[in-house]
């Protein structure tokens, strides 16, 4: 009985390593399609539309509400210490360092990542990828590479939009509705938020999240079992693994960038 148990663990571990290896080999193959993408940039524009532009709405609204909530909560806490002038600092630092990159990546994996997985998985299930191979077109280079690059480019852009909208909606609640002094809101923010240290590091995070989320999404799609159950499983896995990867990586990156 205990042997069975050990065997299962062993098998699962081996399978995990095998999948990881496959994912890395897959990534190398995907990146080998970059040359073709440079020659045909139109392929990228189409994917930027479906990955980036179509995610815009959810990012704008989320940014709006996150900024408002942050400002409201921050105000309630800070006003007790008479420090409501620091509201701008609180809102902007939280958004730029943490919430911007992390929330945008989570939303992105739910909106665009799951769509990518399902799309690629369905293309596999309906033999579209196999038929491309038989037409002597490498489906990885033709289908996956533009999607991966579009994802990596879109996430930082969406993050910037999320951050900016969040901060302005935070000002709307704090400065306009709750009556925090406009001058101290902006000036303290400008004094405390450093472009290189805070904004650039936030973007580095978002860039790394973009690589990981899109990589997971396209790999899960490509590796899905070619059945409807397989595609739905892969889509779920894509979102769950992306979320875990984002949060775990965020801890590592934050401790490297902002720790001590």
């Amino acid at each position: 009985m205990s042997m069975d148990w050990l065997q299962t663990i062993g098998q699962k571990t081996l399978r995990f390593f095998q999948r990881t290896g496959r994912a890395v080999i897959f990534l190398v193959h995907v990146l080998s399609g970059l040359k073709m993408l440079v020659q045909r940039p139109r392929l990228l524009i189409r994917e930027l539309y479906s990955v980036g532009v179509l995610s815009l709405l959810i990012i704008i609204f989320s940014g709006l509400f996150v900024g408002m909530v942050l400002s409201l909560l921050g105000y309630v806490t800070l006003v007790d210490f008479g420090a409501e002038g620091s509201l701008g600092v609180l809102v902007s630092l939280s958004l730029v360092r943490e919430l911007g990159p992390v929330l945008t990546a989570l939303l992105f994996s739910g909106r665009a990542g799951s769509a990518l997985t399902a799309e690629i998985g369905l293309m596999k299930a309906t033999e579209q990828l196999a038929s491309m191979e038989m037409m002597a077109v490498d489906p990885i280079k033709r289908i996956i590479t533009p999607r991966l690059i579009a994802g990596i480019l879109s996430l930082p852009i969406l993050t910037a939009i999320f951050m900016a909208i969040g901060i302005y909606s935070g000002f709307l609640v704090g400065g306009v509705w709750l009556g925090v002094d406009e001058g101290s809101f902006w000036s303290q923010m400008q004094a405390k938020v450093d472009f290189q240290h805070d904004v650039v590091n936030g973007f580095i995070k978002s860039f790394i999240f973009g690589i990981v989320v899109t990589w997971i999404a396209v790999f899960e799609g490509y590796d899905a079992a070619p059945t409807s159950a397989g595609v739905s499983e892969a889509t779920t896995r894509s979102v769950v693994h992306s979320a875990l990867a984002i949060l775990a990586l965020d801890f590592v990156l934050t401790s490297i960038m902002f720790g001590i």
Partner: protein, 267 residues
């Protein structure tokens, strides 16, 4: 006997621990319609994928036009595939492209032709399959038979030397079925290509194939022209061709004795 375009020798292939082919030998004659038949699960489609280089055999060799497919580099393989066409069971049209763009897809991917030439090529092939009027439709707007015809037009747009049909007759109404049967025959004669037909629709296959190979248990169980096979004295061939429920191929999946199993509790 004409030259053979494909020579499969001593092919062994297993997938997920299940042996599908063991020491399979098969020659496909050039310029003819060869049918590969066999019960479900005998690896007919797998054989097409091995010929197309999408799967690699465990042992043995697949020669197409004198080239050993399993030992080709990726680049050479893609070169060889430009001379092959494959009609998938589902059609496998690219769902985000229109009928026109689907057929234009292989041309656009491989050649830098001006738009007017692409247009002529696409409409020429669409005319052959009788769907020139449907060029604007999206794949989701096509019926099953129409999408198979579009897929056929796409497969032949680069004038392949070898055309592979994966279950082209399944799930079609009688009229479309007749259309596809005559298209396969006509294309083979008009374009002079070699056709491999994978199917288990006995009647249609026997009506158009020049040569029939029946697969069973990982080897070629019988080969010959349709007439030869119909007059075969093998029980097995007769059972397959006439569709008898029981015979050398048992009706029952291997199981314990039925009466005995009723007495046992189900665990």
């Amino acid at each position: 006997m004409p030259n053979s375009l494909i020579k499969i020798s001593d092919l062994t292939f297993s997938y997920r621990g299940r042996t599908i082919f063991s020491d399979l030998n098969l020659d496909i004659a050039e310029g003819k319609v060869s049918a590969i038949m066999g019960p479900s699960g005998t690896g007919k489609t797998t054989l097409l994928r091995l010929i197309g280089g999408q799967l690699i055999p465990n042992q043995g060799n697949v020669m197409v036009e004198g080239k050993s497919i399993p030992s080709l580099s990726n680049k050479q393989l893609y070169q060889s595939r430009r001379r092959m066409g494959m009609l998938f069971q589902s059609g496998a049209l690219l769902t985000d492209l229109s009928v026109f763009e689907n057929i234009a897809f292989p041309i656009r991917e491989h050649y830098d032709f001006p738009e007017s030439i692409i247009r002529d090529l696409v409409f020429m092939k669409l005319e052959i399959v009788g769907l020139r009027g449907a060029y604007k439709l999206m794949p989701s707007e096509l019926s099953g038979g129409m999408s198979r015809r579009v897929a056929l037009a796409r497969a032949i747009v680069l004038d392949p030397v070898l055309m592979m049909y994966d279950e082209p007759f399944t799930g079609l109404d009688p009229i479309t079925l007749g259309t596809i049967v005559s298209l396969i025959k006509e294309l083979n004669q008009a374009l002079g290509m070699t056709s491999i037909l994978v199917s288990h629709d006995v009647k249609e296959v026997l009506s158009i194939a020049d040569e029939v190979h029946i697969l069973s248990n990982g080897i070629v169980a019988a080969s010959g022209s349709p007439d030869e096979l119909q007059n075969s004295d093998s029980d097995w061939v007769q059972q397959f061709l006439q569709g008898l429920p029981d015979g050398p191929v048992p009706f029952h999946y291997p199981a314990t004795d039925y009466a005995q199993s009723l007495k046992e509790d189900i665990k």
